[in-house]
Subunit: 242 residues, 6 copies
C-alpha cells in the first residue's frame, strides 16, 4: 500500500521530519511517500495561509492519483482543502486533525488540543465543531511557538509543550492530548513519556487510518458532494504568490 | 462609499449581470465596483471549484484594499475564502450566503434555500450549520441548472426556479426563500413577484449590509483570528490551472 | 425612509439620548422617529419588566404602522416582544440584541456581551441560543450598573464599562464587544476608542440593518407564523400597572 | 395544597372545561382554583395573542400569591409569560407545554405534538428547542381547528384529533402524543382510548407536577434571574385593548 | 399507590437511609417499597459498576412488576439500566438523575450538580447531554467522598457538601443545586438550609414524579423502542461476580 | 497483534460467521480471536437485551486482558457496555457502531444506517447523537429481519437489504451506507457490489481501527473516567437468566 503524506506548506525539511517520525509506525507493506507543496506558504498559521496552500496541495493530490497511490494524507492540523481533495481523489483522503480526533474519541471520553500560535485556535475550534467533537473537546491551548520554530530549539520546545500539556490535563480534566501541528510529530513520543494520558499525533493517526480504510476496501464516495469536479476550462494564473 | 463586488469565478458577463441587478438598490453615495477573478474556474459548483477560486478572489481583495475600498463582497453562494479574505482586509468582507441568511433571519422565522446543482447542497448545508442557522433553515433544494446555464434560457430558468420555490414553501412551510447563487441576482424580482413570501438574493443583501457596517464604522476585527496574515516568503506557482 | 426607534420603557430622556447618539449614523434620506412607550416600566431589567413592556411597545408599533413608517426598532437589549411585533407590522422589525449579534458575526469570529445588571445575563444567554449564536458568543458580563444609573455619573460609567470590556477581551479572547443596553448607545464611541476590538451598539446596528432591509425591499414575512394576528375582541384592562 | 390554574385567555367557559377535566386527577388534599384572565385576548393563537395575554396572566399570579396559593399553572400551550411569572411568584409556576414535555420524556423516547392552528406550530417548535427537547420531539402537527372551535362540534373535533394523532404516530414513529392546547384537556381520555401510545394533556401534567414540587418543598429559585422584579414606578396604561 | 425504590447497589443500609429520608414526602396513599439489589456492586462509582448493577436492578424491576407495583425508581444518580427497565416494566420507571434535572428545570434557569467522586463526573455530563439539559447545567463538581463514606462522618460530610455547593453557586451563578448521589438523600434538608438556592435530591423528586405520572394515568409507552423485550432463551450464568 | 472479537450474544455460529467474514481483511500479523459470551441473550434486539449482555461481554474482556490481547471489539451494533469495557481494559476497545461511523465520516459527507428490527432504531439514533454524528447521519432504516433470521434465507436477506439500502440512498441522498448489525458482516461485499456508494460493515472497521490504534501505540486512557474500576466486593448472583 502506497500512502502519500502531503505537507501543504513548502518547507521540505518539515515534511521529512514528520514522515521520518511516523515511518516506524507504518505496516510492513506500507510505503510512505513524502510530498511537499511546490508553491504556497512556507508554514500555515491562519486562514489565509490555509487558503493559499490548497492549490499546491491539490496539485500533489492529482500527482498522487496519477501515480496510483492508495491514500492521501493532508499533513496540516487545519485539514486545509480536505473536501476539495476528496472530490479530486478516488483513494481515501484523511486530514490529520480529523484523524487525531477520531483516534482520541476511541481511547478517551474527552481530549484537549495543544497547538502552536494562539491565532490558529479558532481554526481548531471550528474543526472540532464541524467534526461533531464539541462534546469531547475540553480545551484548546497554544504554546505560542511558530510552526517553523518548533525545531529551532528542540529541548526548549519539548519543555514548553510538556508544560502546556500538563496544564491542559490539570485544568480541563481531559483524558487525552492531541498535538495540534504536523511539526510536532517527532515530539509525540517524548511528550507522551512525560504525561499520564495518551498523547496523539495526527500524522501517525492518519497513516494508520488510511491503512485501515484501505484494508476495508473503502474509497472516497463519489456519490453526491464528493463527486469528481465537473470538467471546466480554468483560466490559468500567470503567477501565484503571496 | 466604494464597495467591491467580487465574482470569484472568471465569467465576467455573470459579474456584470449581478452587479447591474443590484445597482438600483445601492444607496446614493455608494459606488459598486465590479470585479472578476483573473484566474480560476469559470463557475463554482463544488468544493474543488471553491477551493481553486480562492487565490483569485484574494488577489481581488488585495487590489481592492490597495485601492482603498470601503467593503468587499464575495459573490458566490458558498462564501469561498471568507475567513482568509477577512485576514487580508481591513474593510468589512461579507459573503452572499451569510448575508442572505442574516437578512432572512430578520424577516421570517424560517427559510429554505433554492440553489443550482444538487452537488452543491452539502456546501449550503455546512454553511447553515457553521452560521448557526440550522434551527431556521427548513430545507435546501436544487433546480439542477448549472451556474452558467442560468441565463441560457431565461424564461425557462425563471419558470423552473419559481416552481422549485413554490414547492419549497409548500413542503417546508418556510417563511422566506433564499436564492442560492449569485447568478440568480437578476431573477429575484420576478421570482419574488410570483411568490407570497419574501425572496432574498444574497448579492443585494451583501451590498446593503456592507453599507450598514460602513455606516456603523465597523471594520473587520484584527484581534485574534482575523489578524493580518503573518509576513512570509511564499513560493510562487509557475502556473496555476485546473 | 422613516424608521421608528421604540424605547419600550417609559423613560423619554433615555430615548432621546440613544436616538441622538445614532442620528449621525443614519443615511441621508433616513428620518429617525423617537418613540417612548406610553405606559409600562421605566427601565427593563428582568423577565417581568420585559413582559410588562410589550403592550406599550406594541401600541407604538401600531402607531408607527398607521403612520406608514418603513421600519421599527425595539431598542431594549432583550428584544422584548419581537415576534409579536412582527405579527403586527408589515414593515421590518429589528431588535437591538439581534442586530448587534448579526453585526458582530460579520466582523469577528467571536464576541462577548457586556451588559448592565447580572440578573439580565440569563436573558442575553437565551437570546444568544435562540439566535444560533452560541458558537460565537464567548462570554456575557455585567457591570452591575442599573439602566437608569448609566448616565448618572458618566465618567465613572465609562471607566467601569471600559474596564469590563477589557477584562472580557482578555479573558474570553473575543474579537468584538457588544454593549448590552440601549442606554449605552452614547458611550460606544468612547468605549471603542479605548479598546483594540470593534465595539458594537445594537441601536446603531438596528438602524443600519433596517435601512438595509428597506433597501432590499424586504418586509416582514406574512406567511405562516408572522401572519397578522387573527381579529379578536379583546377584553380591555381597566387599568394596567405594576 | 391550593393550586391556581390560570387560563391566560379571557374565555371563562374554557377555563372551567379544562379545570373540570383535570379535577378528578388531583390528589385528595389538592384544591384547584380556576382563574381566568380579566383582560386580554379571548384565545391565544400566535405571538401577538401570547404577548398581550401576559399582563392579565401576571395579574392573576399576583392575586394568587396574595392569596397564598401553593403553585401556579399557566394553562396555554405556548407557556406565555412563564419566566416573568416566576420572577413574580414565590410558589412554583409551571407551563403546560413544559409539563407535557417533561411527562412525555419520562414514558417515551420520543413524542409528537398535535396542536390547533398551523400558525402556532412555530411557537411549539421554539419551546421544544428552548426546553432541550429537540432530540425527543419527532413532529409537530396542526388539526387546523381554532381554539374556541374545539368544543363547537365535539364529535367532529375528537375524530379529527384522533386522525391527526394516528397519522403522527405512523409517520413520526413516536412513542407518545402531546395535545398542544389547554382546550383539549377534556378530550385526552377519549383520544387516548383510540391510540396505542400514551396521550398527554399538559394541564393534567402541570397539576401533578406542581403537586410534586410542593411535596418536595421546592419553590421558585429567587437567586439570580428569577429574583423578584426590582421595585419600580410603572406608568399605568389608561386603557389596554387590542 | 405502591412505588418501588430500587437501590441498584447491594448496600441495604443505604437503601433504608434514603427511603427513610423521603418517606415523609410521600403522599398519604403512597406506599414506598425499599428494594436492594440481591447481587452486584456494593456501591456504584463508574461505568463498570453501573453496567454490572443492571441485571440486579432488572431482577428487582421484574419482582416489582410481578408484585403489581405502580411505579419504579432507579435510585442511583447515573440512572443505570433506565431504558432496559422501561422495556421490562409496564408501570412508569424514573431515574433519580432524570427526576432531579426535570425538577430543577421547573424552578431555576440553571443548575449545578454536586456529586461524590470526580471519576463519576463524566457520567453526569453524558446524562445532562442526553436529557437535553446541556443549556441548563452550569457545572458539575465532586466532593471526592466515596458513596459508602458519605455517612461515615456525617458532620464532616455535611460541611464539605455545603462548602462545595456554595462554591458551585458562586462560581457557576446557578439558581439551584442537584445532589448527585442517592446517598445524599438524608442530607438534602440540612444542606438546603445552609444555601440560598433550592437544593434538590433526586430520590425525593423521583417519588413525587412517579406519583405524578400515576395520577395522570401514564404508563411506560410500549410502542416502538420501549416495547417489551422479545421472548428469548437466555443462557444462564453459572455465577456472576466482579 | 491479537485482537479479540467479542460477540456479546451467545450465538456462536454468528460469531464465527462474522469473524470468518473479516478475517481476509486483517493485516498479516493480526490474529483474530473469536469470542462468544458464555451467558446472556442469544441475540440483541433492544435495550434490555443490550443491558443483559454486558456482564457476559465484560467476562470476555477480562479473559482477553488476562490473555494479553492487544485490542477488543464489541461486535454488536449498539456498542453495549463500551464505557464499562474501557474501564476494565488496558488495551483499546472499539464498538462496531462507533467504528462504522468513524469510517463513514472519512469517506462521505453523510451516511445512512440500515439495521435489522425497527425497535432498535432508537438505539442507533442515540449512538449517533452521543458520537457527535447527528450532522452526518441522514437516516436510519430497518429491514425488519430479526438478527438470527439474517442467514435463514440468505438470498432473500440480501435482496431485501439491497432494496433497503437503495431506498436509503435515493431518499436520504447519503454518500455511504452503514450496515447496522454484526450479523450482516458477511453480506457487505455483495451488498456493496449492488450499490454505487461505499457500504460499511462495523466489524471490519473495528478490526482495522484496533490495528490502527495498536500501530500508534495508543491504549485506553486510564486518566479520569476510564480509570480502572475501584476494587469492591461484589455480591455474586446465584443464577442469572432472563
Amino acid at each position: 500500500m502506497r500512502i502519500q503524506i502531503i505537507n501543504p506548506n513548502t518547507t521540505a525539511e518539515m515534511t521529512h521530519r514528520m514522515v521520518d517520525a511516523v515511518r516506524p509506525l507504518a505496516a510492513p507493506g506500507t510505503e510512505l511517500i513524502a510530498c511537499t507543496s511546490a508553491f504556497g506558504p512556507p508554514s500555515i498559521e491562519g486562514h489565509y495561509d490555509e487558503a493559499m496552500s490548497v492549490p499546491g496541495l491539490i496539485e500533489q493530490i492529482r500527482l498522487g492519483e496519477a501515480n496510483g497511490v492508495d491514500g492521501h494524507i493532508i499533513a496540516c492540523f487545519g485539514d486545509p482543502g480536505l473536501s476539495a481533495a476528496r472530490e479530486v481523489a478516488q483513494a481515501p483522503v484523511i486530514g490529520i486533525a480529523e484523524a487525531a480526533m477520531h483516534a482520541a474519541a476511541m481511547v478517551a471520553t474527552g481530549f484537549s488540543i495543544v497547538t502552536t500560535l494562539g491565532r490558529t485556535k479558532v481554526i481548531a475550534r471550528h474543526l472540532v465543531e464541524s467534526y461533531g467533537m464539541a462534546g469531547r473537546c475540553y480545551g484548546i491551548h497554544a504554546v505560542e511557538i511558530a510552526v517553523l520554530d518548533l525545531e529551532a530549539n528542540l529541548s526548549d520546545t519539548e519543555e514548553r509543550l510538556v508544560d502546556a500539556c500538563r496544564r491542559a490535563v490539570a485544568q480541563d480534566e481531559c483524558g487525552a492530548i492531541i498535538l495540534g501541528c504536523a511539526g510536532m510529530a517527532d515530539l509525540v513520543a517524548r511528550v507522551g513519556d512525560s504525561l499520564e494520558v495518551p498523547v496523539i499525533d495526527g500524522v501517525a493517526a492518519a497513516v494508520k487510518f488510511v491503512e485501515a480504510l484501505g484494508g476495508m476496501g473503502l474509497r472516497t464516495s463519489k456519490h453526491g458532494d464528493y463527486a469528481a469536479p465537473l470538467q471546466k476550462s480554468f483560466t490559468a494564473a500567470e503567477r501565484l504568490s503571496a
